[in-house]
């Protein structure tokens, strides 16, 4: 055993003499494309697109996939959806490699872990595959364009406004998030804290941030825990579709129904019952179908050479209108929609 450790250690020492530490190693260099965009190039037909969500059988991504399929059909492209059954950090890598191996023209990806997918994405892009991320970004140097569902500022400020309105501008609140390392969740929570520091929300205190891991049962139990731990809690923000649905179910069946306000990012179909019976006053969300469609239009524009992902590139996205690539290759879908009992029946997703 000792001998084995010694051999391994010696091998590793030989592999890199001089010591490789965080401070002396060079950073990765980006693989950004240098080719010039030709905005007037025609959209290529019969492009092969792969739609890779965080996990399959997730209702949110199923709706996004529907939007992507519709857009692909309208443009005459072939889109297929695939993906892992669990949202692990590394589970998407096999599917990215596979798409490259199949010679797909573009990949539409909602990344589970922005870094774990980066090496595979870089290798795929070297083979000419275009990479569009949506919903949850990969490392910016590993993709061409990121379709952001809404600006983080708009989402987070909107959520704080909704809960403040629901509790009359004063009281204790808590946040029920997804996983503690989810890039988008943490960005929103950081902005929510900034918002809450403003004078307008001086009477609102944030008691706790709980993590339901985007798992229905865990989120349900965390909601229960929050209400037990903070008897004066007046409101909960759950900026995740899984969390808000689980929290609503708990409130609906508990004595807190109608006393503790809940808002979050939820789909109209999952939340319709709770909006109509008064458990939940309002929720917000962008239309995932539009998100999928916009990602598809961006992928086709990239694969056709109409854009390269540089800031200022413009492309047409069918009935969604014209979009411009912003800083860091980001395209923002638009402001989120707010759903209440009055308008929820107009939406079906």
């Amino acid at each position: 055993m000792k001998r084995m450790i010694a051999v391994v250690a010696a091998g590793l020492l030989l592999a890199g003499c001089g010591g490789t530490t965080k401070n002396n190693s060079g950073g990765d260099t980006g693989g950004g494309s240098t080719a010039a965009a030709n905005p007037n190039a025609p959209a290529a037909k019969d492009l092969k697109l792969t739609f890779l969500p965080k996990q399959v059988n997730n209702p949110y991504f199923t709706v996004a996939q529907g939007g992507a399929e519709k857009a692909a059909a309208a443009l005459g492209e072939q889109l297929k959806a695939t993906g892992p059954s669990s949202a692990d950090a590394s589970s998407q890598v096999t599917y990215i490699n596979t798409a490259a191996q199949q010679g797909q023209n573009a990949l539409l990806l909602a990344a589970n872990d922005s870094n774990a997918v980066a090496p595979a994405l870089k290798a795929a892009r070297k083979q000419g595959m275009k990479v569009v991320t949506f919903d949850s970004d990969a490392a910016p140097d590993a993709r061409d364009v990121f379709i952001n569902q809404a600006s983080s500022q708009e989402i987070a400020a909107g959520q704080v406004k909704l809960i403040s309105d629901a509790i009359g501008g004063a009281g204790e609140i808590a946040i029920l998030s997804a996983t503690a390392n989810a890039t988008n969740q943490n960005a929103w929570i950081a902005i929510m804290k900034q918002e809450l520091a403003k004078p307008a929300y001086a009477k609102i205190t944030l008691d706790e941030i709980a993590y339901g891991n985007d798992d229905d049962q865990t989120s349900f139990q965390k909601t229960q825990g929050l209400l037990q731990a903070h008897p004066n809690l007046k409101g909960i923000i759950s900026p995740t579709t899984v969390g808000v649905a689980a929290a609503a179910r708990y409130l609906d069946s508990s004595s807190y129904k109608g006393k503790v306000a809940l808002t979050g990012l939820g789909t109209p179909n999952q939340m319709r019952k709770f909006l109509q019976d008064g458990t939940v006053g309002s929720i917000a969300l962008w239309d995932p179908a539009q998100l999928g469609a916009l990602a598809t239009y961006a992928a086709v524009a990239l694969a056709s050479g109409q854009i390269t992902g540089k800031q200022g590139d413009k492309f047409k996205a069918g009935e969604l209108g014209e979009y411009t690539v912003g800083a860091n290759g980001e395209v923002v879908l638009g402001p989120p929609l707010t759903f209440t009992k009055d308008n929820v029946d107009k939406y079906n997703f």
């Binding site: 490789t20 060079g26 695939t82 892992p84 950090a89 590394s90 872990d113 870094n115 774990a116 490392a139």
Partner: protein, 316 residues
């Protein structure tokens, strides 16, 4: 012995079927250099851990904490890298930590006489918990390309992933250890009949202890490979991988009751599992079906030897 040979032949036929079937179903894109590279990269981590675990299961024990040791190793790499340690010191260090994790399992099983199933279910939770304690929910990803290339690029001029080179070296080493040394014969003897082994002068506890230490060290090594491949050190890396590894070992013809099994069979089984999974995904078969097929294979691997060969140690 005859049964074993037949089992390995069956695995070999299965492997040929996977390769041929996979190539036909995917119009040849499976059987390319890049295809082989992808399969190799995907299965390397699981295959590495399967090697020492084969010896553990042959000795009629089990270690379910391997994936958690992998996660702890990954988390430690991340936290020490953030602290400014050189990778050349971090990597040997985490292997030592892995060996210590294995030694704790080994101590509880051999010195306190606790069943390894219960002990390692406990340490599965314990080591994963430790991983979250050291790194929390962070992800560390700024490793230098010169190191992550070990996991992401093939050996120059070939399509062979570096982790597979490591796997081949260790497979030969563990193959020799199990099949060509007195230590290996002791492992078989313990698995077949522990009492008899003890009375014939085999140091049962010492042998088992060494097996757990080896398993911990290799699991930590697999954690290094995993971290470099995905260029991402996280506490939740490899969650659930222990079941894949056990699947590979059992499919390889190793008896869950101990006393029987070969490294060759397990190597074949890892290739079958890795090849089959990648071929199915490449052929756009739904993920649920892939999981289903793996489950059926595992059941078949437990079932087939049980009907062709009665366990030698009384009732299970």
């Amino acid at each position: 012995m005859k049964t074993l040979l037949r089992w390995e032949s069956a695995l070999f036929v299965l492997l040929v079927l996977v390769v041929v079937g996979g190539s036909v179903a995917t119009d040849g894109s499976f059987l390319t250099g890049r295809g082989a590279f992808n399969v190799g990269s995907d299965l390397a981590v699981m295959a590495l851990i399967a090697l020492p675990l084969t010896l553990v299961i042959v000795a009629a024990e089990i270690d379910l904490s391997v994936a958690s040791v992998l996660g702890l190793s990954s988390a430690l790499i991340g936290v020490l890298w953030n602290d400014g340690w050189p990778l050349e010191a971090i990597l040997p260090f985490v292997i030592v930590v892995g060996a210590v994790c294995g030694a704790v399992n080994g101590f509880l099983v051999t010195k306190l006489g606790l069943p390894s199933l219960a002990v390692t279910i406990g340490s599965l939770a314990l080591y994963r918990g430790l991983a979250f304690v050291v790194l929390g929910d962070k992800a560390v990803a700024d490793f230098p390309d010169s190191y992550t290339q070990f996991g992401t690029t093939p050996v120059p001029g070939t399509w062979i992933p570096y982790p597979i080179v490591l796997f081949v070296v260790l497979a030969v080493a563990f193959g020799l250890l199990l099949h060509a040394t007195t230590f290996g014969r002791a492992v078989f003897a313990i698995g077949a009949n522990e009492e008899a082994a003890r009375f014939s002068g085999i140091r049962v506890k010492r042998t088992k202890f060494i097996l757990f230490v080896l398993t911990g060290a290799v699991a930590a090594l697999a954690g290094i490979v995993y971290t470099l491949r995905f260029a991402s050190a996280r506490a939740d890396n490899g969650t659930g991988l222990e079941l894949e590894v056990v699947t590979a070992v059992l499919l390889g013809g190793v008896s869950i009751f101990g006393g029987r099994g070969t490294i060759g069979g397990v190597v074949l089984a890892t290739l079958v599992l890795g090849g089959l999974t990648d071929a199915l995904i490449l052929d756009d078969v739904a993920t649920e079906v892939v999981t289903l097929v793996t489950g059926i294979l595992l059941l078949a691997s437990v079932f087939a030897p049980a009907v062709t060969h009665r366990p030698t140690r009384g009732t299970p």
